[in-house]
């Protein structure tokens, strides 16, 4: 028997195997689940930014027909634990899933109503009367730091959560003393709302007979959720199963453990029935974590030729009212990437995290790297402006050279590999940079304002070594060749739109030499996949994929032992090629992996010291993160009469190392660009001074629409990482990271004739129009 020739799969733009169920409406998201006897939960949320709860009267709701349970802070506190934080820092403030007396942001849960259907639950929640005693509100981090500011957590006697110093203060001061030129700028990196198209959702089912809790949650981290949730609802971990079914996007906001995961579980344990909670979009705006809101005064010191000597940062992060799972870790993650792609001999930063009466922040696409990249890329343009140098030239002069890798940064990172200049040169060539500069000159004479923005970035992917990731940075992967030769792959990652089922199948099918259709990939169910961490920080391929490759290797080695017995040869003399095992020179006598699998599970052919079966499980602990990079060029024109920014061209060159499926990689970049452009031009979470979220729905929060975006031009360079055997770095965040500074640099470049060298985001037309009228920002 000969096996069919397996075409090359890794590196090919194979269309996704996830798609048939998604394009026909046959996939199952949390809200699509319907269990017998299932009840529905609705949450009453604070409408005040900061208040003491004088009284929460639930009597009318409890009396409402169809209502099974009403929980307040009293029950939440008696039945469960506080929300977890995996990386607490400084004055760590967390909370119960329902307020225990004080609400600190609009959207904080006060009561939960469980009823027979969602309409009744919602009606009953409106029968709950909350008597608020208002407390002073503070929504601005700088004001929250002032003496006499209203305190969110009075026990700490300050709103400052923590101040973390990074780098070498003395060396940095020396760099500034030696400088020919310095720049200094306060920059806003405003608050965003992640908004995956599927809001969060939970179905919890406690089986009173088995005493087991099964929780379907729209999460990126089912295994972490299982581990943490068991403690939070006071059940032993082996009695809890978490399933992430089809998940409609995450962008970081579904890494958390949320109040509703706990409340649904507590309600189900209490009632012995399944309980469903589906987040409404308006709830999502205020009850799911926000991103960014990290601001900085950045200073650069350089020689007259533009070469950097030192970088100094004073960073203020507005983290909102509480610490959630990773809240405090995001601004410190930012600090690691402050120097970007440049040789910065000395750096010193202080990162201060501050509580305010706003929704807590946490990981949102890029989580720290977009902020760091924005600050340094904007600052490099300021330095170029001051030196009257082209922004491209200042970058070329300061790039870390390609032979300097692995490169140790002033913030303690060891960049794995890189070759920054070719990526920039490719972007410039594709954009026609020199012609664009000439066109800009011509148009300015006509009173038209073209802007050309360049950004170069490096970021952190393949996150990462366990020392860096609270909860573990490894990932698990199992490969089982079934008795019929079909292959089942288990991954601890939890894909939610990335196409992991396709990419992992490509890898396994090629490595094992079996048809791709013979491989199935299971994920997201903690009872199927014993251990895992999850999908975030572009770690799925780099770490999860490596764990799978390790298991494939083990399976192949074991297959050779069985084949040795079957072919009467020493396993050491055998070769595994395209799904067949044979002695070189005797290909015709070989056995297929399918034949070996049948024998291995049959148990009658058993090599010495070998167990029956053909499967392996591996856990990969990476030695380092990976550091993808790239260069973006954005061309804009600003309407003189309206201030509206037209995106005329967008060139993105990204280097994410080796690529498994280029079609998927491009899709990741497209979506990332949209979110990065969104921050620069459209999206902003706005609070008023009472702590009301003014952008609390899609009517007010400008999520990018098809008509607001251009088509993108994408290119790649390839610099593999030495950190994992696939050489893959990761690409999930790249577009978001490179895009925001490229767009802002383009807009500021367009406005140069108006004497402007910096404009804070978000760049709404009114702001730009005022600048062009000669006014202030």
């Amino acid at each position: 028997m000969t096996s069919t020739q397996i075409p090359k799969l890794v590196g090919e733009p194979i269309r996704r195997r996830e798609d048939p169920r998604l394009i026909t409406g046959l996939s199952t998201y949390v809200d699509d689940l319907k269990l017998p006897g299932m009840l529905h939960m609705s949450i009453v949320r604070s409408t005040h930014g900061h208040a003491r709860l004088r009284n929460v009267d639930v009597s009318r709701a409890r009396a409402r027909e169809g209502v099974s349970l009403v929980m307040t802070g009293t029950e939440a506190k008696a039945w469960g634990e506080m929300l977890p934080t995996a990386a607490p820092l400084g004055n760590s403030a967390t909370r119960y899933p329902l307020s225990d007396g004080v609400v600190r942001f609009v959207g904080e849960g006060i009561a939960a109503v469980v009823a027979g259907d969602r309409y009744t639950a919602r009606d009953a929640s409106e029968l709950i009367d909350v008597d608020y005693e208002d407390l002073p509100v503070v929504v601005d981090a700088l004001k929250a730091m002032e003496p006499g500011a209203s305190l969110l957590h009075p026990d700490f006697k300050t709103n400052v959560c923590v101040t973390v110093p990074v780098g070498d203060k003395e060396a940095t001061e020396a760099g500034f003393r030696d400088a020919d030129v310095t720049i200094k700028q306060w920059m806003v990196n405003h608050r965003l709302i992640p908004n995956p198209m599927e809001p969060r959702g939970v179905v919890a089912h406690f089986d009173p007979g088995q005493e087991t809790l099964t929780v379907w949650s729209s999460t990126q981290v089912p295994h972490l959720l299982k581990w943490l949730l068991s403690g939070l609802v006071r059940l032993p971990e082996h009695k809890v199963r978490v399933i992430a079914p089809e998940v409609g996007g995450g962008f970081g906001c579904k890494i958390d453990v949320y109040a509703e995961d706990i409340l649904c579980s507590l309600a189900s344990i209490h009632l012995g029935k399944p309980v469903k909670w589906i987040e409404e979009r308006t709830e999502n705006f205020m009850a799911t974590i926000h991103g960014r809101d990290i601001h900085a005064e950045i200073e650069l010191a350089a020689r007259s030729d533009g070469r950097l000597l030192a970088q100094r940062m004073n960073v203020i992060a507005d983290i909102g009212a509480y610490q959630q799972l990773l809240t405090a870790a995001i601004p410190t993650l930012t600090s690691l990437m402050f120097p970007g792609v440049y040789k910065v001999p000395a750096l010193y930063a202080e990162v201060t995290e501050v509580y305010t009466n706003k929704t807590p922040t946490d990981a949102y696409r890029g989580a720290g790297r977009p902020e760091a990249t924005y600050f340094i890329e904007r600052a490099m343009d300021l330095l170029a402006h001051k030196l009257n140098m082209d922004p491209v030239e200042i970058r070329r002069r300061n790039f870390i050279e390609k032979d300097a890798f692995p490169y140790q940064t002033a913030t303690g990172m060891a960049y794995d590999s890189g070759d920054y200049e070719p990526a920039l040169e490719l972007a410039l060539e594709k954009a026609g940079y020199d012609d664009l500069r000439r066109e800009q000159e011509e148009l300015r004479k006509q009173g038209r304002y073209l802007g050309i923005g360049v950004s170069t970035y490096v970021e952190i992917c393949g996150i990462g070594p366990s020392a860096m990731v609270p909860g573990g940075g490894w990932e698990g992967g199992s490969v089982r060749v079934e008795r019929t030769g079909k292959v089942t792959v288990l991954t601890g990652t939890s894909p939610h739109g990335q196409g992991g089922e396709t990419a992992f199948s490509q890898i396994v099918a090629e490595e094992l030499g079996v048809p791709m259709d013979d491989v199935t990939v299971l994920h997201g169910d903690t009872s199927q996949v014993p251990f895992g961490v999850g999908t975030f920080g572009s770690r799925a391929i780099a770490i999860g994929g490596t764990a799978i490759v390790m298991s494939v290797e083990k399976v192949k080695e074991k297959a050779k032992k069985f084949a040795g017995l079957m072919l009467e040869a020493s396993p050491d003399d055998l070769v595994y090629e395209s799904g067949r095992i044979f002695v070189p020179g005797h290909e015709d006598k070989g056995v297929t992996i399918q034949e070996v699998a049948n024998a291995a599970w049959g148990g009658t052919v058993l090599p010495p010291d070998t167990e029956p079966g053909l499967e392996a499980t591996s856990y990969f602990e990476p030695s380092n993160c990976t550091f993808p990079f790239g260069a973006h060029v954005c061309v804009v024109e600003i309407d003189r009469d309206t201030g509206k920014v037209e995106l005329k061209k967008y060139i993105s060159v990204d280097d994410c190392g080796n690529v498994i499926n280029p079609m998927i990689v491009e899709g990741q970049v497209h979506g990332g660009l949209a979110q990065g452009i969104g921050q620069a031009l459209m999206e902003e979470a706005v609070y008023d001074t009472d702590g009301q979220l003014l952008t609390g729905s899609f009517m007010d929060y400008n999520l990018p629409k098809a008509e607001q975006l251009p088509s993108f031009e994408l290119y790649r360079t390839t610099t593999p990482t030495p950190v994992n055997p696939l050489g893959a770095k990761g690409v999930g965040e790249a577009g978001t990271i490179g895009a925001t500074p490229a767009v802002v640099n383009a807009v500021v470049d367009a406005l140069k004739p108006f004497g402007v060298d910096h404009v804070d985001m978000m760049l709404r037309p009114e702001k730009l129009w005022r600048i062009m009228q000669g006014g202030t920002q």
């Binding site: 394009i23 198209m197 599927e198 409609g248 996007g249 729905s697 629409k705 975006l709 993108f712």
Partner: protein, 158 residues
């Protein structure tokens, strides 16, 4: 709650059932008829995840009462595939990688279906404007536009 009977054609087959008068069409489809391919992405009629094709136009089923469907003909994502063959729009979204998490996809496809029903050869600008009522957070719309262009070409060729 007051109940009333609603009868309409759903994906080519007649349905008739008694529903709460305030029940939204999207909940009628999802909860009463178990057609969960039509999704809910917002509560203010912006995102378009719940788009279905009703009497010749794409509508947001979160903004329609179930009772308003009485006497109408409704097509949902589940009704697009005919005789085991994917609709050209479904095929094109697959081929062009016009989806990632898939949550907006049924609404996006039904909206594009309505668009191509009115304009068989839309320009890129017309496609982008035509889909302004459907949000996607994953794709940056780049491949969605390509998918609609490709499907339009296929459908014109038929």
């Amino acid at each position: 709650m007051a109940k009333q009977t609603v009868s309409f054609s759903l994906n080519g087959a007649p349905v008739s059932l008694e529903v709460d008068t305030r029940l939204l069409l999207v909940h009628l489809l999802r909860e009463e008829l178990s057609l969960t391919g039509t999704h809910i992405g917002c509560d203010t009629s912006q995102c378009g995840a719940c788009t279905v094709f009703m009497d010749g136009a794409s509508v947001k089923s979160c903004t329609v009462f179930g009772l308003q469907a009485d006497g109408c003909s409704i097509l949902t994502i589940e009704g697009l595939k005919q005789d085991g063959e994917l609709h050209p729009l479904q095929e094109a979204f697959w081929n062009e990688h016009g989806l990632q998490c898939g949550y907006c996809t049924p609404g996006m496809i039904m909206s594009a279906y309505g668009l191509l029903n009115e304009n068989s050869d839309p320009s890129e600008t017309e496609i982008r404007e035509g889909l302004r009522g459907n949000f996607c957070r994953c794709t940056g719309y780049h491949n969605i536009v390509k998918a609609v262009q490709s499907a339009a070409a296929t459908m014109r060729g038929k």
